[in-house]
Symmetry: C2
Subunit: 419 residues, 2 copies
Amino acid sequence: MTPTQPLNDAPLDLPDDHPYGRHHLPYGAIKVGQEVHLAVRIGDHALDLATAAADTPWAVALSEPQLNSFLELGPQAWSGLRGWLQDALGNPARWGELEPHLHAVEGLTLRLPLHVADYVDFYASEVHASNVGAIFRPDGNALTPNWKHLPIGYHGRSSTIVISGTDIVRPVGQRKAKSDPQPVFGPSIKLDIEAELGFVVGGSTPLGSRVSVDEAVDHLFGVALFNDWSARDIQAWEYVPLGPFLGKSFASSLGAWITPMAALVDARVPLPAQDPEPLPYLQGSTGAMFGLDLTMEVRLNGTVISRPPYAGLYWSPTQMIAHLTVNGASLSSGDLFASGTTSGPEPDQRGSLLELAWDGTEPLTLDDGSTRSFLEDGDTVTITATAPGPGGVTIALAEVSGTIRPALSSPQGAVSAGS
Amino acid sequence: MTPTQPLNDAPLDLPDDHPYGRHHLPYGAIKVGQEVHLAVRIGDHALDLATAAADTPWAVALSEPQLNSFLELGPQAWSGLRGWLQDALGNPARWGELEPHLHAVEGLTLRLPLHVADYVDFYASEVHASNVGAIFRPDGNALTPNWKHLPIGYHGRSSTIVISGTDIVRPVGQRKAKSDPQPVFGPSIKLDIEAELGFVVGGSTPLGSRVSVDEAVDHLFGVALFNDWSARDIQAWEYVPLGPFLGKSFASSLGAWITPMAALVDARVPLPAQDPEPLPYLQGSTGAMFGLDLTMEVRLNGTVISRPPYAGLYWSPTQMIAHLTVNGASLSSGDLFASGTTSGPEPDQRGSLLELAWDGTEPLTLDDGSTRSFLEDGDTVTITATAPGPGGVTIALAEVSGTIRPALSSPQGAVSAGS
């Protein structure tokens, strides 16, 4: 991320292969004085859209502090703004128009660039679902009978989705190991990560209607890396019969910059063969059924512990939307859905510590010689990713990072801080 | 609901025992021209708060079309406005101040009076959980091992919560009976109701903090009847391992008027004995641990099919809040949580058709001679409830009602309309 030019000289003179070059153009929200403005990242700068785009057709939506109104404008507006930006960036004579609206990213305060409407977490990696099934339900089939018939998902807590960099307070709750005669209360001792890709939805739909796989393409605005922090001990005790709740709802982290789908057109790859054949409502044209050739890198205190590949996930994001709406549920601009933990077939491609250390039976060794089965207080987890961008360049998704803080004492003072 | 006086004569001259008298004062949102204004129901009228309360300390929050900002002001504001209203209603000399701001409820268009932030559905009736367990998991224990240790809950879809009176389109989706070799796709054939009480939360809390049972009292703004429409066949096939999703997310209906907790002080009743003793974070002072002596009446096309009592539910709403936040999850003003299906111990006190007709094995007979195991297109379900109000009066919660419309044909035209 070293700038190729001094920051104040020609900040828009970026080489074509810059990971935040004009082929990428992710969206964020920046503090400007006491206000929050929408922005586009260009190299090491953020272009203030509230001011730079004030004379464009999308100015009203772009004057808001979050993307939701712009998301509602739909794909023509999204490609319109992108085209306007790329035209200006491709023409050095126009750089002077943009330069007054640039802020160096370093030192900027970033905000979550969308108000998350409804949040759904899917479970689209066959490897992850099989691994978790083998660990949580050793006596049953690893994959539940429904898994290859529908993209399994559940609703999560929208209001606890936080921007990358936010500290994560270790959750407290009930757990009960098989050896515990009664539930035990205290800070989670199995705090985990889930390396996922989050999809931002634009364009609301009416209640009682459905979105087909082909139509879903027009509701996919962009992606960001997502860490669905999970307290495995809390989750294991609570999740039967109504699913994960407090084991997930304490926090999920989203990357600060939303990469538009338009930057990932060359990253689209075919899905793995889907067998049995999905029901017709989960089928679409070839162009609407895709994975993404996107490789994540998960670092724990600097040590790379995994490189999960997103390509190979069983279900297409468009199938997830078609499934989510087949019952008539409406979409809202600002809906966020995540892929579920991205685990590849190799042991060093697993997207959670639960899988990487196989529920504590095979601890990881970090570069400093320490070992980990789950997260300790003070640990920092950072997920990055790269993907092929337009024209053969490589683009870098914005990192999602968080540091674990000790559990708080309870309101009753009954629980010690820390774990 | 016949007015005791001609509408335009002395509309505020209500007898003390009027179900919408000055002891009740529920909150709603009404269309006034092209605008939506907050309102309080008084007898057969709605008092426009945007205009009537324009000189009060809460005028800014009350000028908004939804309650969220007023909810954020907290219990002092809630009791302040209630006191101001009751003072004015108790003093005929002041009726003239209010009368210009009254609208007859008949003919008014109502709107959902809150933007639902996060929505959680609990599962707090031991009878219901036991019945469903016996039906869905006949080979296991009806009650899961965690049930008496924690209030089980899951997040639902906030954006598909609709106001009473909204038609419900029959959902479409996958189901698979044991006898089906493959999943079947089509309109749900097991469309059901769930008679519940919804609780509206006010006062946001920071992420990483917790709300005790005692503190939770101050976050309970009010209640409304809630029908969590459920497609049992879709739910049964999808819900393992991550919980209910499309079987619920197509729609849930909320009563149009939110009854403040202050109107239910005399309806509070002790909880049933909780054995085993809950963990300390689920305990509170006697005043903070309560059920409500509230009896619902469920009508299907006019026939009363059940009278579920809310008293007897195992968990207090304050325990639900304490549980929801024990992991550090924040509250938002506008959060809504529901009790779960309210089923009493008698067969005619069950809150769902699944239980009333025992999964189709004991169909109900309606007054017109027809029978029902689940809902048919055109069916109307209306839930009402009464509770002891302040001073020995009986108050009536606003009904929650909905009519089933036929399923839509799919975007691909592959599914026939209707069921």
